[in-house]
């Protein structure tokens, strides 16, 4: 066996429990399980196992356990097993690795070093069970008069929208589930750069359509079908490089939607070739506004990078109505590993510096600020908003709600849960209504939690938390990071 094929996981099957029903064999989309007739038992090819746990979930007798393969590489805390495996794979193939989901490296999380305030004695908290607490959020230009006849912005019922995931990267079923959930929740989902499937047009009022550098599926009616249009410049998981939908996922239907040959890699170039400057960006913003008769807000999505504040300032001046900033932990269907794991900055810092810069320049009210990239729970939502965001976008969390186990193999197109796949057999595994119900539940639970947080803070609306960094304290953060965040240390 070649050294890079030493399995990472081990499939353990309890012979006393296994009834040889072979469900696991059919469920494993990675081909790691096989029924051996002669031995009358299920045998595994452990090196193909990705620990998606589909077999474990589907085994009627609970006979399967997946464990980490307890190989004992001579311990080395610097040349870790991961480092050694990465080298072996490249040494064998001569190629970079493609990976999925947000970075799995253990970078420090700033969210985990921020704490929220609470009212005690001198300022009364609000009881969310009895008193109304508002989560409605306005995405758009707030600087125009409230009496303006036709405000361009959008009102969403919760400060949480769904991030961009294209038809191609995820299944139509997963997109439908998100669209249904967005409609029920009174919020927005984003179809990413893969066109708008005819089945989704009825959900237009809850959809953001994307114009990215590959311009897949972009036409006049597409722009007009949605509630908002997003120009995608960058993505947190892969700042500075383009999109990549591996050919494995470009089926006949995807090829029709994107108008590219079947089986080709759908590649979006790193830059939009009509945008090399803020002036050019402004040109596309207004081209979209012209094509939609100035009836829809235009957002611009960028990855959080070193000079994000200045870029955001430029975007605010370009005529855009909102800025979406995606932190370095943001997910992806496919990205080169080295890019995902090494480029960009944390979303927490990006929100703070962008909010500061926009306030400093008197631009903050002109644009909505939507933060994404690693929002895991309602605590993260509250902290992101307190740092200065109007709303957050979640994607990975929504997929996890549907049943994704974060096996991080989206790029193979073999998602056993029917989420990140175009294989009709696998797609059929995702029940749209059930997936939508679970996503709705997640956001409802988070909403209740947000209200509880707001009540504890003595705030009657999410609006009162927006950019309210006085409500945050840092723990275990150095002085400079605290200064960047505009947050005091705990105890002060």
């Amino acid at each position: 066996m070649k050294i890079e094929k030493i399995p990472e996981f081990k499939v353990l099957i309890d012979e006393s429990k296994c009834i040889r029903c072979k469900i696991c064999v059919n469920e494993c989309s990675f081909g790691a399980l096989r029924y051996d007739k002669k031995k009358n038992k299920i045998v595994s090819k452990d090196w193909l196992c990705v620990a998606c746990l589909r077999c474990v979930a589907k085994c009627p007798t609970g006979a399967i356990t997946i464990t980490r393969n307890p190989i004992s590489l001579s311990p080395h805390d610097y040349w870790t097993e991961r480092v050694r495996r990465d080298i072996w794979i490249r040494a064998e193939t001569g190629s970079p690795r493609l990976v999925s989901m947000g970075t799995n490296l253990n970078y420090p999380s700033i969210f985990d070093h921020l704490l929220l305030d609470a009212c005690q004695v001198t300022n009364p908290p609000i009881d969310p069970l009895r008193e109304p607490i508002e989560l409605e959020t306005y995405l758009g230009d707030r600087s125009i008069s409230v009496h303006s006849e036709d405000p361009l912005g959008l009102m969403i019922e919760v400060p949480i929208i769904f991030g961009a995931m294209s038809y191609g990267s995820i299944s139509l079923e997963a997109q439908k589930a998100l669209a249904k959930a967005a409609k029920e929740l009174g919020t927005l989902m984003n179809v990413g750069e893969g066109g708008l499937h005819p089945d989704l047009y009825p959900y237009g009022d809850n959809i953001i359509v994307q114009v990215a550098s590959g311009r897949f599926g972009v036409h006049r009616d597409y722009l007009n079908a949605a509630a908002a249009v997003e120009i995608k410049i960058g993505q947190g998981a892969k700042p500075g490089i383009g999109g990549h939908l591996p050919g494995e996922k470009v089926t006949a239907e995807i090829s029709a939607m994107r108008m590219i040959p079947e089986g080709t890699d759908a590649l979006s170039p790193a830059p939009h070739h009509d945008i090399y400057s803020i002036e050019d960006l402004s040109q596309l913003v207004y081209a979209i506004k012209e094509a939609t008769d100035y009836s829809k807000p235009v957002f611009v999505k960028i990855a959080a990078v070193h000079n994000v504040a200045y870029i955001a300032s430029g975007i605010a001046r370009s005529g855009a109505d909102g800025i979406v900033i995606d932190g370095f932990r943001g997910g992806t269907g496919a990205a080169p590993q080295v890019i995902r794991d090494n480029l960009g900055i944390p979303i927490e810092i990006a929100i703070a510096v962008v909010d500061d810069k926009l306030r400093e320049e008197g631009l903050r009210e002109r644009v909505a600020l939507i933060a994404s990239g690693g929002i895991r729970n309602s605590g993260d939502v509250a902290k992101a908003i307190a740092l200065g965001a109007d709303a957050v976008a979640i994607s990975t969390a929504a997929l996890v709600a549907m049943g994704c186990t974060l096996c991080q193999h989206c790029y193979t197109g073999k998602c056993p849960w029917g989420i990140a796949t175009q294989d009709p057999k696998l797609r059929a595994r995702l029940n749209v209504d059930e997936a939508a119900r679970r996503v709705v539940n997640l956001v409802k639970a988070w909403s209740t939690e947000l209200k509880e947080i707001l009540g504890a803070l003595g705030l009657s609306s999410i609006e009162g938390l927006r950019g309210n960094r006085e409500k945050l304290r840092g723990i275990g953060l150095d002085e400079l990071t605290l200064k960047m965040l505009g947050v005091k240390p705990a105890g002060r």
Partner: protein, 251 residues
């Protein structure tokens, strides 16, 4: 048929487009824009069967997201002509700037003069929808970069010898490019190759050259289908080997 005239002198792009849309909605079938001077997005997102004459110099993104109209420019045009256009026809009797026909999904663009960098990049194609671009003069570098479908023809009516453009059709994975004259292999980008023309190619070229010369009122004499070089994708998946795709997971 009556021609509805719009004097664009002193109007900004918003006003020009508003006038065009109003006229089109009213059912005008033939518009004439006079004194056009750099207004952007002319006919942007315009839908329907209307003919628009442009006298002067339209600004960038002429016909962006356009869906159906027939636009004829009696002058030069800027960058982004026919950007992400869905259907229709744009005819430019002069030169055009960069990124002409970016991600075009259908329809035709004819340019009498020269074109800048990145002509016909990301051209799409599916079923009946096949975008076509014909340029009478020379083109800049990165012609047909990442092309996924459609047809680009570079006639080079005033030129002899080899084409000077570099990185031609880099990353091409669908569609065809025809260049009149010689092409040195080192001018081709990654994933592009020169190929022989088929009977169908000759037929298409003859039709396009005839139509182009009719529209541009120029002579097709001296242009022979035999002089064209055809550029095609080496494979429909040129970057297949770029990344190592493995199910071996790393902790």
């Amino acid at each position: 048929m009556t021609v509805f005239e719009i004097d664009c002198r002193g109007l900004n792009f918003k006003a020009v487009n508003r006038e065009i849309k109003k006229a089109a909605e009213r059912g005008e079938k033939h518009l004439r824009l006079l004194n056009v001077n750099g207004q952007r997005y002319i006919c942007g997102g315009l839908k329907g069967e209307v003919k628009v004459e442009i006298h002067g110099f339209p600004g960038n993104d002429l016909g962006i997201f356009m869906d159906g109209p027939m636009v004829e420019v009696y002058g030069n045009a800027g960058d982004g002509v026919g950007n992400t256009m869905n259907s229709g026809h744009i005819i430019v009797h002069g030169d055009v700037g960069d990124v002409v026909g970016y991600s075009m999904r259908g329809g035709r663009i004819y340019v009498r003069g020269n074109a800048g960098y990145r002509l016909g990049i990301h051209l799409k194609e599916y079923g009946e929808k096949k975008p076509i671009i014909v340029v009478g003069g020379e083109v800049g570098d990165f012609l047909g970069e990442y092309m996924a479908g459609g047809v680009v023809v570079v006639l080079r009516l005033e030129s002899d010898g080899a084409i000077e453009s570099r990185f031609i059709a880099a990353g091409i994975h669908g569609g065809r490019i025809f260049v009149r004259g010689r092409i040195d292999e080192n001018r081709l980008g990654f994933g592009a190759a020169v190929s022989d023309l088929s009977e169908e190619d000759y037929g298409l070229l003859e039709e396009l050259v005839r139509d182009f010369c009719r529209v541009m009122k120029c002579s097709s004499r001296g242009v022979s289908s035999e002089e064209f070089v055809k550029i095609i994708p080496v494979s429909k998946r040129p970057f297949e080997k770029l990344y190592h795709q493995t199910s071996i997971k790393v902790p």
